[in-house]
Structure formats: C-alpha cells, structure tokens
C-alpha cells in the first residue's frame, strides 16, 4: 500500500469511534503492543528528546525501502509512534520525503503533534524525513 492508502485506512479505522474515549482506548491498545524497536537501540544516540515523553527511532534501508522501528516510554505517544511507523515504514525514500501527515489531524490527534507539546513526536517526524533524505543521498552517491 502507498502512504496515502495507509493513511486512508487509518482514517476509516478511527472513523468507527464516536467519542474521544474510544479513540484513545484504541490508541492505548496500539501503544501497549510489544516494543517496536530492538532494545539495543534504546540508547541515547537513538533518543529523540521531548521533555515529557521520550521517543527512540531507528532506521535502516532494505531493497529500496526504509524500515523504521521506534518506541516511547509513554503509552499514548507509543500508540501514535505505532501509527507513524505503519504509515512510513517500508516505503521508498521519495514518498516519505514528499508525504504529509494529514491523517493525524483527521483522526483528532493533532494536539499531540503540536510543536509545543514536547513529547518528541514532532521531532520524530522531522527525523524520519531526514533519514529518508540521507538514505536517498547516499544511494544517489553510490
């Protein structure tokens, strides 16, 4: 599926919920699923620091697609991290660089992406795009 298709899938998925509590319960469920990142990457060099919750992000390249894994110490943040991985991982670099993440707004979680929220999510998205750019540049130079 393309980034766009996955986003639409998620929007449909969240469309089933009537109120914020169901939405958050779903998010929490996703947040509780087992860690998405190899424990050995949960170190300072992979840490994206928000002052309240922390996010670890790892990226690798395989067959022209970028594989992201990530985790967070707060469950809600982790739920959103999970969604972002679903959208961005295993996609070509160019698509990641070009993508917008409007779905977060549409499913009513935009507040968590506010640059003032300091939960590390905004920086995580920035970082994902930077990785994509870096892998692309590297590939082009080879």
């Amino acid at each position: 599926m393309t980034i766009k298709e996955i986003q639409e899938q998620i929007i449909t998925e969240f469309g089933n919920f009537d109120d914020w509590m169901d939405r958050y319960n779903h998010l929490i469920d996703m947040g509780k699923s087992c860690p998405l990142i190899d424990e050995k990457y949960k170190t300072k060099s992979f840490l994206i620091s928000g002052c309240q919750s922390r996010v670890w992000l790892h990226a690798s390249m395989s067959d022209g697609e970028i594989i992201f894994t990530a985790d967070s110490d707060a469950v809600i943040t982790k739920g959103i991290v999970n969604l972002l991985i679903r959208v961005f991982s295993k996609q070509p670099a160019d698509d990641i660089i070009a993508a917008d993440i409007a779905f977060i707004d549409e499913i009513g979680l935009n507040e968590h992406l506010s640059p003032t929220r300091s939960n590390g999510l905004m920086s995580m998205i920035k970082q994902m795009k930077l990785y994509a750019l870096a892998f692309k540049t590297k590939a082009a130079n080879q």
Binding site: W20, Y24, I28, C51, Q52, S53, V75, N119
Partner: protein, 406 residues
C-alpha cells in the same frame, strides 16, 4: 465565616469558561494563578485612562501614573512588612530577582573555594543561577537533602553550613512537594553564622502571610502572576544595606543619575536597580491583586486551602495505586502523585479530556524527580477558588485513567 467561595468564584471570569464543553477545573495554580476581575479591570482602566511613562515627566498623566506606581510600591512594602519602600525592587519575576542577586550580590561576595548552599527541592530558577555563579567563581554548590516526606531536617541543614558558606538560597514553599520550610528558624541559624539568606517566595505569597521583617531574611523574591496578579512583574525585597553595597545589575534609563561619556553616577534606591521603562501596567495590576488578597484575608485563604488539601490528600490516598510525593507536616495545597506505573504524560492527557488542568512532568525541579527516581509527577495545585467538588472530579478522572491503562 467570611470566606464565601461562591462570591470568590464569581470574581474570576475565566472560571465561567468551558473546556471540551464542560466547565474548566483549574488545578495548575502553582504554574500561574487566574486573575480576579479587579486585576483585569485595573489593567483595562490603566490603558484606557492613565497610560504613560513614569518618572521625570511634568505633565499630568505622567505625574498621576508615577504617583500610582510609587504608591503601589509602598503597598507592596506594607503587604510583606518591609521597613521601607526603597527595599522593594520591581523586576519581571522571581527568576529575574534571583538572577539579580546571584549576579550583583553573589559575584561580589563569592571567592574561589567558597560555598553556596541550596536545598534539593529548589526550582531550577533558584538552582541554575547559583550553579553558574559557582562555576564562574570556582566555588562549590552544596545541597541539603530532604527526607522521604519531602522535609528538610534542621540537623541536615545545620550540618551543611560551615565557615565557607557565603550565601544560602532556599524556597519558602516547594513548587513540587508543597513543603513549607521552617525558614524563620533556618534564617536565624544562618545569621548566627553570619551567612545571608535569600528566600524564594514564588510559591508562598498567595498562600501564607509573608512578613519579611519577622523572617529577617536578607532577600525575598516572588512573582506577581503566581499571586493573582499580572504576568511580567515580580519583586525583589532586599535589606537596604545590601542594596546600597551592591553594584547595579542592568543599566540604562532611569537608573542613572547623571551620565557623561567618562562617568556615570547611579540613581538612589530603589531606582538604581530598575533599568528601562518599568512595567507600570503590571505593577498597578499587582497592587489590585494584593488589595484583593487583603480584602479576602490571608488567614481565611490559608484555612480554606488547608481544608482543601486535607480533603484532597485523604481522597487520593484512598485510591489504590496512587502514590503521593511530598507529605510534609506543613504543606500548601499541592498534590504531586503518580498512578500505578502510568506515565505522567499519559495520565495528564486523559485527565485533560475531563476538562481538568493539571501539570505533568518535572515541574522545573528535576533533582526532586531524581531523588525519587521517577520521570515526573502529576501535580494538582490549589488556589482559593478551588472546591471539594472539583477534587471529586479529579478523583473520578483518576479512576478513568486507571481503567484505560489498567
């Protein structure tokens, strides 16, 4: 009782507002308090009828605004029982007041090898300026620990004072734990050793009657916005002898007496420490806030808030899995807690959805978190307009949080 909570609530316009369709419950008072109508009106009036730059103007507006400004300085002096208005320096907040002292007084008295003493419960604003100063002067920062309840023990305090101690800086009330420190005793002991003491009163002024003459502190700092006044204004109280001896901090504007390219002489107190156009608006607003506090009565406020704290503490203790941080015998209305192993960010996000404003995180007191080995807490801090019903709503929200993350 003279304390009419309904009347008080009606004095604070923001309490009428809704968040997510339900009435706002505001429990983030240690971060900043809401403002009574009297304060908002004072500001509006000022800009509508009186606005002017003060000092040295001979025209009517300037004279009137200067008089109002200086009268407020006197009002502040009376409110905290300073012996004269020249000891009241207007700053932009507690942080600036402390920086001023660290820079002007601290730089003057501190030498290589000397010590500055703080406590382990200080807000970053009463920690980092001293740390930077010690770094600059090759002095050491010493820290009095607190016990499991969040109390400084006098014996520990005394043990940390020695003949290298040059200044002690400590919170009257901890913003994270609510602890009211026995500052009068602590100052007395320090003075016995000839050590001056700065009190960070940011969290005290709206909750307790503060009397700087009785405390005999050398310096006392607070912010208007944490005591029902406007943002952008704070106070540095300092004994006159210190202010006379200290070099100025910022320079320019009214703080100079005469200027040439070769030399500058500084103005008398308090102006020597007030560079630039003062925030007249906020000073007059703070005057209105102090009047409101006096009319309501500090004792009534203290009694009412004590009652809220007792109620809240008892309710929270009953919830299984809730862990309170800060259980000193003498406390203001601050409840710092964690729920099971739930991350404070998660809990705060859900509590917010119940229209309740609590703060989560380290509350600018990271060392307190390190002491307990936790990433942060959820903090509900009370003001005079809060109610037991609101605490019940918080309890309800905590149960929901437990359910959702259980």
């Amino acid at each position: 009782m003279s304390f009419d909570i309904q009347k008080i609530r009606s004095d604070f316009p923001i309490l009428n507002r809704k968040v997510y369709g339900k009435p706002l419950v505001y429990f983030d008072n240690a971060a900043t308090t809401q403002k009574p109508r009297a304060v908002i009106d004072r500001i509006t009036d000022y800009y509508t009828n009186e606005n002017c730059n003060i000092h040295r103007g001979v025209h009517h507006l300037s004279q009137a605004a200067t008089t109002a400004f200086e009268d407020t300085r006197e009002q502040i002096a009376r409110f905290i029982n300073a012996s004269k208005k020249e000891e009241i320096i207007i700053t932009k907040g507690t942080t600036e007041s402390i920086n001023l002292i660290a820079s002007s007084f601290g730089r003057d008295i501190l030498q290589k090898g000397d010590e500055v003493l703080i406590t382990a419960m200080e807000h970053h604003s009463n920690l980092v300026p001293w740390q930077m100063l010690c770094f600059e002067k090759e002095a050491s920062l010493r820290v009095v620990p607190f016990n499991d309840k969040g109390e400084i023990e006098m014996s520990a305090y005394k043990d940390h004072i020695n003949d290298k101690t040059r200044i002690i800086a400590l919170a009257h009330v901890s913003n994270t734990l609510g602890t009211i420190n026995p500052v009068k005793e602590m100052i007395q002991y320090a003075h016995g050793k000839n050590v001056p003491v700065l009190i960070d009163g940011a969290q005290a002024l709206s909750h307790l009657k503060v009397d700087v003459s009785d405390l005999d502190c050398d310096f006392y700092c607070f912010s208007g916005h944490k005591a029902y006044g406007p943002m952008g204004v704070g106070v540095l109280y300092a004994k006159e002898k210190h202010l006379e001896a200290m070099p100025p901090y910022q320079t320019g504007g009214e703080m100079v007496e005469s200027v040439s390219f070769f030399e500058t002489t500084f103005n008398v107190l308090p102006f020597k420490f007030e560079a630039g156009t003062p925030n007249v608006e906020a000073v007059l607003g703070m005057g209105a806030a102090i009047k409101y506090l006096e009319e309501t009565g500090m004792e009534s406020i203290e009694d009412y808030e004590d009652d809220l704290l007792a109620y809240g503490t008892q309710k929270l203790k009953k919830i299984e899995g809730v862990q309170l941080y800060g259980t000193a015998c003498k406390k203001t209305g601050v409840l710092s807690f964690l729920i099971d192993n739930i991350h404070p960010y998660d809990a705060g996000t859900i509590i917010d959805k119940f229209s309740i404003a609590v703060r989560t995180g380290h509350h600018c007191a990271q060392p307190v978190m390190d002491r307990f080995g936790i990433p942060g807490t959820i903090r509900a801090s009370f003001a005079m307009y809060n109610t037991k019903e609101e605490i019940d709503q918080l309890v309800e929200a905590i149960h929901q949080v437990k359910k959702m993350f259980g």
